[in-house]
Protein backbone atom coordinates (compact mmCIF):
# COMPACT_ATOMS: atom_id res chain seq x y z
CA UNK A 1 0.00 0.00 0.00
CA UNK A 2 1.35 3.37 -1.08
CA UNK A 3 -0.28 6.63 -0.02
CA UNK A 4 -0.21 9.09 -2.92
CA UNK A 5 -0.75 12.82 -2.37
CA UNK A 6 -1.59 15.39 -5.06
CA UNK A 7 -1.19 19.16 -4.82
CA UNK A 8 -2.17 22.30 -6.74
CA UNK A 9 -3.35 21.64 -10.35
CA UNK A 10 -2.39 17.98 -10.05
CA UNK A 11 -4.94 17.74 -7.23
CA UNK A 12 -7.63 19.67 -9.08
CA UNK A 13 -6.88 17.87 -12.37
CA UNK A 14 -7.25 14.41 -10.87
CA UNK A 15 -10.01 15.52 -8.51
CA UNK A 16 -8.45 13.88 -5.45
CA UNK A 17 -6.07 15.15 -2.80
CA UNK A 18 -4.90 11.66 -1.96
CA UNK A 19 -5.48 8.01 -2.65
CA UNK A 20 -4.13 4.71 -1.37
CA UNK A 21 -2.77 2.41 -4.06
CA UNK A 22 -2.23 -1.35 -4.07
CA UNK A 23 0.80 -1.77 -6.31
CA UNK A 24 3.69 -4.03 -7.21
CA UNK A 25 5.64 -1.02 -8.54
CA UNK A 26 9.11 -0.68 -7.00
CA UNK A 27 9.99 2.73 -8.49
CA UNK A 28 8.19 6.05 -8.62
CA UNK A 29 8.27 5.88 -12.42
CA UNK A 30 6.47 2.52 -12.47
CA UNK A 31 3.94 3.83 -9.96
CA UNK A 32 3.26 6.88 -12.16
CA UNK A 33 2.59 4.55 -15.11
CA UNK A 34 0.01 2.72 -13.03
CA UNK A 35 -1.55 5.98 -11.83
CA UNK A 36 -1.94 7.25 -15.41
CA UNK A 37 -4.04 4.18 -16.23
CA UNK A 38 -6.49 4.69 -13.39
CA UNK A 39 -8.76 7.23 -15.16
CA UNK A 40 -8.74 9.67 -18.09
CA UNK A 41 -8.24 12.51 -15.60
CA UNK A 42 -5.21 10.74 -14.12
CA UNK A 43 -3.87 10.09 -17.61
CA UNK A 44 -4.23 13.66 -18.75
CA UNK A 45 -3.00 15.32 -15.59
CA UNK A 46 0.07 13.10 -15.21
CA UNK A 47 0.92 12.97 -18.95
CA UNK A 48 3.86 15.38 -19.01
CA UNK A 49 6.53 14.42 -16.50
CA UNK A 50 8.47 17.62 -17.29
CA UNK A 51 5.70 19.57 -15.57
CA UNK A 52 5.70 17.43 -12.43
CA UNK A 53 7.83 17.15 -9.32
CA UNK A 54 7.98 14.04 -7.13
CA UNK A 55 8.65 13.37 -3.47
CA UNK A 56 8.94 10.13 -1.50
CA UNK A 57 8.51 10.45 2.24
CA UNK A 58 8.76 14.23 1.88
CA UNK A 59 12.08 14.29 0.01
CA UNK A 60 12.43 15.21 -3.67
CA UNK A 61 13.21 12.22 -5.90
CA UNK A 62 13.65 11.25 -9.56
CA UNK A 63 11.57 8.72 -11.49
CA UNK A 64 13.94 5.87 -10.67
CA UNK A 65 13.61 6.31 -6.89
CA UNK A 66 12.68 3.10 -5.08
CA UNK A 67 9.40 2.83 -3.23
CA UNK A 68 8.15 0.29 -0.71
CA UNK A 69 4.93 -0.48 1.15
CA UNK A 70 4.00 2.29 3.56
CA UNK A 71 5.79 5.05 1.64
CA UNK A 72 4.18 8.44 1.09
CA UNK A 73 4.54 9.54 -2.53
CA UNK A 74 3.60 13.07 -3.59
CA UNK A 75 3.06 14.43 -7.10
CA UNK A 76 2.88 18.19 -7.67
CA UNK A 77 3.87 21.05 -10.00
CA UNK A 78 7.06 23.09 -9.62
CA UNK A 79 6.80 25.18 -6.47
CA UNK A 80 5.76 28.82 -6.45
CA UNK A 81 6.11 29.88 -2.84
CA UNK A 82 7.85 32.87 -1.37
Amino acid sequence: MINVLYFAWVRSGIGLDQETIETQATTVGALLDELRARSPRHGETLADIAKLRLAVNQSFVDLDAKIAAGDEVAVFPPMTGG
Binding site: A8, Q58, A74, F76, G81
Partner: protein, 155 residues
Protein backbone atom coordinates in the same frame (compact mmCIF):
# COMPACT_ATOMS: atom_id res chain seq x y z
CA UNK B 1 13.33 29.19 13.63
CA UNK B 2 10.67 28.35 11.09
CA UNK B 3 6.90 28.76 11.18
CA UNK B 4 4.24 27.77 8.64
CA UNK B 5 0.94 29.38 9.52
CA UNK B 6 -2.35 30.75 8.21
CA UNK B 7 -2.22 33.72 10.60
CA UNK B 8 -0.62 37.03 9.82
CA UNK B 9 2.60 38.11 11.56
CA UNK B 10 4.17 41.35 12.76
CA UNK B 11 7.58 42.22 11.31
CA UNK B 12 8.53 44.47 14.23
CA UNK B 13 7.61 41.94 16.90
CA UNK B 14 9.33 39.08 15.09
CA UNK B 15 12.61 40.94 14.63
CA UNK B 16 12.43 42.24 18.21
CA UNK B 17 12.07 38.65 19.45
CA UNK B 18 15.08 37.61 17.35
CA UNK B 19 17.22 40.33 19.00
CA UNK B 20 15.84 40.22 22.52
CA UNK B 21 18.43 40.23 25.31
CA UNK B 22 21.38 40.12 22.92
CA UNK B 23 24.10 42.70 22.35
CA UNK B 24 26.31 40.67 20.01
CA UNK B 25 24.18 41.18 16.89
CA UNK B 26 25.39 43.95 14.58
CA UNK B 27 23.09 43.43 11.59
CA UNK B 28 19.61 42.12 10.88
CA UNK B 29 18.63 41.79 7.21
CA UNK B 30 15.01 40.98 6.58
CA UNK B 31 12.71 40.37 3.68
CA UNK B 32 8.96 40.71 3.51
CA UNK B 33 7.07 39.19 0.58
CA UNK B 34 3.61 40.61 -0.18
CA UNK B 35 0.65 39.77 -2.39
CA UNK B 36 0.68 42.22 -5.29
CA UNK B 37 -2.20 43.27 -7.51
CA UNK B 38 -2.63 40.37 -9.90
CA UNK B 39 -4.82 41.99 -12.57
CA UNK B 40 -3.04 42.35 -15.95
CA UNK B 41 -1.67 45.80 -16.79
CA UNK B 42 -4.52 48.07 -17.86
CA UNK B 43 -7.20 45.75 -16.50
CA UNK B 44 -10.08 47.24 -14.58
CA UNK B 45 -10.28 44.45 -11.99
CA UNK B 46 -10.08 46.12 -8.61
CA UNK B 47 -7.78 44.78 -5.91
CA UNK B 48 -10.88 43.78 -3.92
CA UNK B 49 -11.90 41.33 -6.69
CA UNK B 50 -8.57 39.53 -6.41
CA UNK B 51 -7.23 36.88 -4.07
CA UNK B 52 -4.35 34.45 -3.84
CA UNK B 53 -4.62 31.06 -2.18
CA UNK B 54 -1.41 29.45 -1.03
CA UNK B 55 -1.53 25.68 -0.84
CA UNK B 56 1.27 23.72 0.77
CA UNK B 57 2.35 20.19 1.68
CA UNK B 58 2.06 20.02 5.47
CA UNK B 59 5.01 18.20 6.96
CA UNK B 60 7.25 18.48 3.92
CA UNK B 61 7.04 22.27 4.03
CA UNK B 62 8.37 22.41 7.58
CA UNK B 63 11.06 19.86 6.72
CA UNK B 64 12.27 21.78 3.66
CA UNK B 65 12.26 25.14 5.45
CA UNK B 66 14.26 23.67 8.34
CA UNK B 67 16.72 22.15 5.82
CA UNK B 68 17.11 25.47 4.00
CA UNK B 69 17.65 27.32 7.26
CA UNK B 70 20.28 24.79 8.39
CA UNK B 71 22.11 25.22 5.05
CA UNK B 72 22.24 29.00 5.59
CA UNK B 73 23.71 28.49 9.07
CA UNK B 74 26.39 26.17 7.65
CA UNK B 75 27.33 28.74 5.07
CA UNK B 76 27.21 32.05 6.98
CA UNK B 77 28.04 33.02 10.57
CA UNK B 78 24.41 33.65 11.57
CA UNK B 79 23.47 34.35 15.16
CA UNK B 80 19.75 33.88 14.61
CA UNK B 81 17.33 33.43 11.75
CA UNK B 82 13.63 33.22 11.13
CA UNK B 83 11.43 32.03 8.29
CA UNK B 84 7.67 32.54 8.49
CA UNK B 85 5.55 31.45 5.52
CA UNK B 86 1.78 31.76 5.39
CA UNK B 87 -0.73 29.55 3.61
CA UNK B 88 -4.44 29.97 2.86
CA UNK B 89 -6.40 32.74 1.20
CA UNK B 90 -4.67 36.13 1.00
CA UNK B 91 -5.60 39.48 -0.52
CA UNK B 92 -3.52 42.11 -2.35
CA UNK B 93 -1.28 43.87 0.16
CA UNK B 94 -1.23 40.89 2.55
CA UNK B 95 2.02 39.54 3.91
CA UNK B 96 3.13 36.13 2.55
CA UNK B 97 6.63 35.47 3.83
CA UNK B 98 9.18 36.88 6.25
CA UNK B 99 12.85 35.95 6.31
CA UNK B 100 15.24 37.57 8.81
CA UNK B 101 18.93 36.87 9.44
CA UNK B 102 21.10 38.24 12.25
CA UNK B 103 24.89 38.35 12.08
CA UNK B 104 27.76 40.41 13.51
CA UNK B 105 28.29 42.00 10.07
CA UNK B 106 25.98 43.11 7.33
CA UNK B 107 27.27 41.13 4.37
CA UNK B 108 26.54 37.74 5.91
CA UNK B 109 23.08 38.89 6.99
CA UNK B 110 22.20 40.15 3.50
CA UNK B 111 23.60 37.15 1.65
CA UNK B 112 21.92 34.60 3.91
CA UNK B 113 18.60 36.43 3.59
CA UNK B 114 18.81 36.39 -0.22
CA UNK B 115 19.90 32.75 -0.20
CA UNK B 116 16.94 31.77 1.97
CA UNK B 117 14.47 33.55 -0.30
CA UNK B 118 15.99 32.05 -3.46
CA UNK B 119 15.98 28.50 -2.04
CA UNK B 120 12.57 28.84 -0.51
CA UNK B 121 11.13 29.82 -3.90
CA UNK B 122 12.35 26.61 -5.54
CA UNK B 123 12.50 24.08 -2.68
CA UNK B 124 9.57 24.76 -0.37
CA UNK B 125 6.36 22.98 -1.45
CA UNK B 126 4.00 25.95 -1.83
CA UNK B 127 1.75 26.67 -4.78
CA UNK B 128 -0.14 29.87 -5.58
CA UNK B 129 -3.64 29.98 -7.01
CA UNK B 130 -4.52 33.47 -8.24
CA UNK B 131 -8.16 34.49 -8.50
CA UNK B 132 -8.85 37.60 -10.56
CA UNK B 133 -12.47 38.58 -11.14
CA UNK B 134 -13.65 35.05 -10.27
CA UNK B 135 -11.16 33.22 -12.53
CA UNK B 136 -8.70 30.96 -10.74
CA UNK B 137 -5.29 30.17 -12.22
CA UNK B 138 -2.30 28.34 -10.80
CA UNK B 139 0.85 30.44 -10.98
CA UNK B 140 3.62 28.97 -13.14
CA UNK B 141 7.08 28.57 -11.68
CA UNK B 142 9.48 31.22 -12.98
CA UNK B 143 12.73 30.27 -14.66
CA UNK B 144 14.30 33.34 -13.08
CA UNK B 145 13.65 31.78 -9.65
CA UNK B 146 15.48 28.61 -10.69
CA UNK B 147 18.37 30.73 -11.95
CA UNK B 148 18.45 32.75 -8.74
CA UNK B 149 18.64 29.55 -6.66
CA UNK B 150 21.31 28.06 -8.93
CA UNK B 151 23.71 30.96 -8.38
CA UNK B 152 24.39 29.71 -4.82
CA UNK B 153 25.71 26.38 -6.10
CA UNK B 154 28.21 27.80 -8.59
CA UNK B 155 30.66 29.61 -6.36
Amino acid sequence: MIRVQADDFDLGQEVAALRRGRSDIGAVASFLGLVRDMAPEGSKTAACDQAMTLEHYPGMTEKMLADIEAKAHERWPLQASLIIHRYGRLLPGDQIVLVACASPHRQAAFEACEFLMDWLKTKAPFWKLEEVGGQGQWVDARESDEAAAARWTHD
